[in-house]
């Protein structure tokens, strides 16, 4: 295996070197780095041109200048830009903001993609399956700059207009959403035609009722889950995770999950109206999440009896979900203050940048601010990458479900839940793991356009501004980092595959 890794790495380094050489020359020859100065009529034009030539070694032809650049890169420095700014410093900032931008969208896209992919595989050739296929291909084929502009127009500007003057969903919208939700649930839940009609009716009525309550209580201008919402979601998570992981028959798991949810609900008021004011740093929130997981795990451990593993898992998932819902409710509590503040002026959804300039406030306000800024770029990125994940996970699960050992498992009388969750799902994840590894490698370089449209100064703008100014140094910094990551994660993907699937050997 060591030989494999080393051989791969050596080959990759040579490929990367050749690629940088070509790239460097292409960028350097793509235009005239002195163009802006040539048009200048400033009295010290000569000095300015001369100092730029000296700074960037423009008197050396690009094929040879590459080696000056290369000599510097080996020592870990990427040179300076046309403006004389350090590329290393720019790179550091750019990496930070790009990672901030793409991390959440990737996690959410993977998570959603897997869930939707799996459910479509389980309901193969249903109306739901076809709709998802249609929608995911539709989004997959849209250009992101266009999606981004549309999102800004409708989700930001349009939605802000809606929020600005006494937000009430019109009756037509309520009805339309009710029908959509009814149709969705009816196509997911199997059964006879009559059962589908009943499902449709219940789902549509529930949606309409919830939306009406939201309208009546002015939910859109001051959203809240309240303790009622937290209780419903916490207990729902308890029952749901138990059903999914161990089955409701496992009373120990159910008791542990309900106990965890109950503890969360009991802590609702003390947290919201007292404890949360002392949470002033992000690490505190993270520490609370870890604490929640530990306490839930402990409850699962003590309630678990002889089969502790699954019970602990149920308890931890329930605990984290309940805590998340409580935190969400806490963020919602500052929404109204946030949206009506002088900095936001009733238009909370942002189209540009990473934060509202000069907004000062508690951790919860900052959190809401990050949310309103990340919402659009994250949505845009998810819409595009969602398709890949759903298609792959659907295909992968379907393939596994058709294997002989699944038929055996069913034949020996295992419940459908056990067959899907225990036997099929895990094996279906193996090919997905490699795709995820690829994607993480491609993330840093993949958001060039999104960044520009949403005004994030990350890797994308480093690349694009460099290209515009015919400035090879920042472009090459981008190229080396992105290329290096692609190579690294390709390797990791291969190794992960080998580790997960005993049939594969890396030799």
């Amino acid at each position: 295996m060591a030989t494999f890794v080393i051989r791969r790495l050596i080959a990759s380094v040579f490929v990367l070197l050749a690629a940088t050489y070509i790239m460097y020359n292409l960028v350097a020859l793509s235009g005239d780095p002195l163009e802006d100065l040539r048009q200048s009529s400033a009295p010290n034009k000569e000095e300015l041109i001369e100092s730029r030539i000296r700074l960037l070694n423009l008197d050396v032809a690009p094929p040879l200048r590459y080696f000056i650049w290369f000599g510097n890169v080996i020592t870990g420095n990427f040179g300076v830009t046309v403006e004389g700014r350090s590329v290393n410093a720019l790179l550091e900032q750019a990496l930070g903001s790009t990672i901030q931008l793409v991390t959440i969208s990737t996690v959410v896209a993977i998570f959603l993609g897997l869930i939707v992919g799996i459910t479509t595989a389980l309901r193969q050739y249903s109306g739901y399956d076809y709709s998802v296929t249609f929608v995911s291909f539709l989004f997959f084929s849209l250009p992101i700059f266009w999606v981004a502009v549309l999102l800004k127009q409708f989700v930001a500007i349009g939605f802000n207009d809606f929020l600005e003057n006494d937000p009430q969903l019109p009756l037509l919208a309520v009805l339309a959403l009710a029908v959509v939700s009814g149709a969705l649930w009816a196509s997911i839940i199997p059964g006879s035609a009559r059962r589908k009609v009943v499902t449709f009716a219940i789902a549509a009525a529930a949606t309409a009722a919830i939306l009406t309550v939201m309208n009546v209580t002015g939910w859109f201008s001051s959203p809240a889950l309240t303790i009622g919402g937290v209780a419903i979601m916490g207990l729902g998570a308890a029952v749901g995770f138990t059903a999914l992981i161990t089955g409701l028959k496992n009373r120990r798991a159910l008791i542990a999950a309900v106990a965890v949810a109950g503890l969360g609900i009991a802590l609702y008021f003390p947290f919201q109206y007292n404890l949360s004011f002392y949470v002033t740093e992000w690490w505190m929130l993270l520490a609370l999440a870890v604490l929640t997981a530990l306490v839930s795990g402990a409850i699962g451990y003590f309630a678990g009896g002889h089969d502790r593993g699954p019970v602990i898992r149920v308890a931890v998932f329930t605990g984290i979900t309940t805590a998340f819902v409580i935190a969400l409710d806490r963020f919602m509590m500052v929404w109204d203050d946030y949206a009506t503040s002088g900095r936001i002026r009733g238009r909370p959804i942002a189209t540009i940048g990473a934060s509202t300039p000069n907004l000062e406030g508690s951790l919860w306000v900052q959190g809401v601010d990050i949310y309103t800024h990340l919402l659009l770029p994250t949505l845009a990125l998810i819409l595009i990458s969602f398709a890949t994940y759903t298609r792959y996970s659907r295909a992968s699960l379907l393939e596994v479900l058709n294997q002989d050992y699944i038929r055996t498992a069913r034949a020996k009388g295992l419940s459908e839940r056990t067959v899907v969750v225990r036997h099929a799902f895990r094996n279906a994840l193996i090919p997905i793991a490699t795709i995820v590894a690829f994607d993480i490698g491609g993330l840093i370089g993949g958001a060039v356009i999104t960044e520009r449209v949403f005004g994030w100064t990350g890797m994308g703008s480093l690349f694009q501004n460099g290209l515009q100014r015919v400035d090879p140094n920042p472009v090459m910094a981008f190229f080396v980092i992105v290329g290096g990551l692609a190579i690294l994660f390709n390797l990791i993907a291969d190794l992960v595959y080998a580790a997960l699937d005993p049939r594969i050997r890396v030799n």
């Binding site: 048009q39 400033a42 009295p43 109206y273 007292n274 946030y338 100064t457 694009q464």
Partner: protein
């Protein structure tokens, strides 16, 4: 049964929760948002250095911020015309031969830390921007770190190098100026007509000296700096120059111990700066001049994409934008409610030059052929089809030397003959001139930027029109047009933009003088050279204008070339602000930042 048990359990937990709550006192329940408000302006490039006089910091993005936070003896308004700010200081010419100028800071003008602005600051500005104290024959590149573009640690400690606006004209003051209290007297070695544009107070002398020499007290620090400059003490000047060159290069808010980098003397102070996102300026409490700002807080957000800026304006995230003018931007802005759109002109202007010598086919050696060709240039059509959609008020520019709107422009249009003789396309006249010159289908190869769609269209229009008169216009366009400019034998005519950064009269010298650095078409006219020489020493504004009028006329008589249009600019602002009125010269939209007023009473 189970459900009801769960229900009972949850009721119990909620009750328990309420009970726990009642035991602890909740902290204050006010709004968790700290209030304040601002006007936000979008700019397309991040700020990265507060010293915009160095070659490192020389960029509009920096100059804008420096402008808003600095007092100045004069500035350009939107006419454009040079305005004096006598509440900051005054200056007068004491003697014309030799040229001696005396600058005096007004009483009470102080830095934002309370230290008065005085002659020491001006002495430092002279030392740094004239480069006179610099160690001769020192090449700073040997000690420039290629990683950061800044100077390395092994930079010699006894070498003085101010990386100021060298070549700008202040090097003509080679003797250490005399200072007295708040007054400095600059004596120029040679008469330098643009003296008014080259001098101002830059960085605070006391902070430079505090950082370079480690002296705490501001007055002592200043005294030490003055002494060092007057005695040309290289040992003290070396760290001073190094501090002046590098310390103000910050691309995020400086840390607490570097807070003295934010000491300024203008209407605003820098109060917040997040790397690559925004910089916030707050009204300066210690500002005493007459340009008192009406808006408490101005935030400049860095938005590269023009359409993104438009949508941010639509969404209320920014209040003033000035993106690059394109048809898409103009259309998108026209759709918005509650937004005022101002069409304006920028400092850059498009012009077509004919090669007098060293041309590809030698066509334009004959003045008749030059005149004939200029008669075919469809300038009005170019403006109508390519520029009017972006700026409905766009007009053809009719002068090589004068910026439209600047003093003298109207006179020159009446007298130089560009509007009169070449105002409209005259195919017949051109054909007649060609016949008179006795040439048939002369070749004209035009150099232009092929990567710029607007110029490709211009070329097509010119080609079509000129071919009708019997010219054979061919395409010498290139992506690398900038590098080809002035190359002997490469082309016969070229069109591109010249950028005016000031109204300095010496700027034209490099373009029209025989052998000047911007004389790319090998133009040579002894009469013009003579006038330019006289212009270099003509201190009277009236005489300057007279000479320029004369040059403009001579250029047209020689059929030098034509100017076509001023680049269109576009500015849009929301109904939260009033008073925005952009000018063509830097700092374009910001020139009257103190006249902007908020209309939203809540945000006061």
């Amino acid at each position: 049964m189970r459900i009801s048990r769960i229900g009972a359990a949850s009721a119990a937990t909620i009750a328990a929760s309420a009970l726990v709550l009642s035991a602890c006192a909740a902290p204050q329940q006010e709004s968790e948002v700290v209030e304040g408000s601002s006007i936000t302006v979008a700019w397309n490039q991040p700020f990265y250095s507060y010293n915009s006089n160095t070659s490192f910091g020389n960029a509009t993005a920096n100059a804008n911020i420096v402008y808003m936070t600095s007092g100045a003896f004069n500035y350009y308004d939107n006419t454009p015309e040079l305005q004096k700010d006598e509440s900051f200081g005054t200056y007068e010419v004491v003697s014309e031969d030799p040229l001696v100028v005396e600058y005096t800071i007004a009483d009470g003008v102080q830095w934002s830390d309370g230290t008065p602005v005085d002659a020491a600051d001006m002495l430092l500005a002279w030392a740094a921007n004239s480069g006179v104290p610099n160690t001769p024959d020192f090449d700073p590149t040997e000690f420039t770190d290629p990683v950061t573009g800044e100077f390395t640690e092994d930079y010699p400690t006894d070498v003085v190098f101010f990386d100021g606006a060298l070549g700008g004209g202040l090097e003509n003051v080679s003797q250490v100026p005399e200072i007295d209290g708040k007054t400095i007297t600059l004596e120029y070695d040679n008469i330098f007509v643009d003296w008014e544009l080259v001098f101002g107070v830059g960085l605070p002398a006391h902070v430079v000296a505090q950082r370079a020499l480690g002296i705490e007290d501001p007055q002592e620090a200043k005294d030490a700096l003055v002494e060092a400059i007057q005695n040309n003490d290289a040992e003290a000047l070396a760290p001073i120059s190094s501090v002046w060159n590098s310390d103000w290069n910050f691309s995020e808010m400086p840390s607490e111990e570097d807070a003295n980098l934010l000491v300024v003397n203008g209407p605003y102070v820098i109060s917040d700066f997040v790397a690559d996102q925004y910089i916030t300026l707050t009204a300066n409490e210690n500002y005493v001049g007459e340009n008192t700002p009406q808006i408490e807080e101005v935030t400049v957000r860095f938005i590269t994409d023009p359409l993104a800026a438009v949508q941010a304006l639509a969404n209320g995230e920014v209040d003033v934008i000035s993106p690059q003018a394109t048809a898409d931007v103009a259309d998108a802005l026209a759709e918005l409610d509650g937004v005022t759109v101002l069409n304006s002109v920028e400092g850059t202007y498009e012009h077509i030059d004919l090669q007098f010598d060293q041309s590809k086919s030698g066509t334009f050696s004959d003045p008749l052929v030059r005149e004939a060709f200029l008669k075919t240039i469809p300038r009005q059509q170019i403006v109508d089809t390519l520029i009017k959609p972006l700026n409905p008020e766009a007009e053809v520019r009719n002068s090589q030397l004068f910026v439209p709107g600047a003093p003298g422009y109207d006179d020159t249009v009446g007298g130089n003959g560009m509007a009169e003789n070449f105002g409209e396309v005259d195919i017949e006249g051109a054909a007649a001139l060609l016949a008179e010159a006795g040439v048939t289908s002369p070749e004209v190869c035009i150099l232009y930027a092929t990567n710029n769609p607007r110029r490709v269209n211009e070329f097509a229009l010119i080609q079509e029109s000129a071919n009708q008169a019997g010219f054979n216009v061919t395409d010498c366009g290139s992506d690398d047009w900038g590098g080809l400019l002035g190359t002997p034998g490469a082309y016969d005519a070229s069109f591109f933009g010249w950028q005016s950064t000031s109204l300095g009269v010496t700027n034209s010298s490099a373009t029209f003088r025989t052998g000047g650095i911007n004389n790319l078409n090998y133009y040579s006219n002894p009469a013009v050279d003579e006038l330019l020489t006289e212009l270099d020493t003509a201190l009277e504004p009236e005489r300057q204008i007279e000479i320029q009028l004369e040059i403009d006329r001579l250029l047209m008589d020689d059929a030098y070339g034509l100017t076509i249009f001023q680049f269109p600019g576009i500015t849009a602002y929301s109904d939260r602000v009033e008073g925005v009125s952009p000018g063509p010269l830097s700092p374009t939209i910001f020139w009257n930042i103190w006249d902007w007023t908020p209309t939203d009473s809540e945000s006061e």
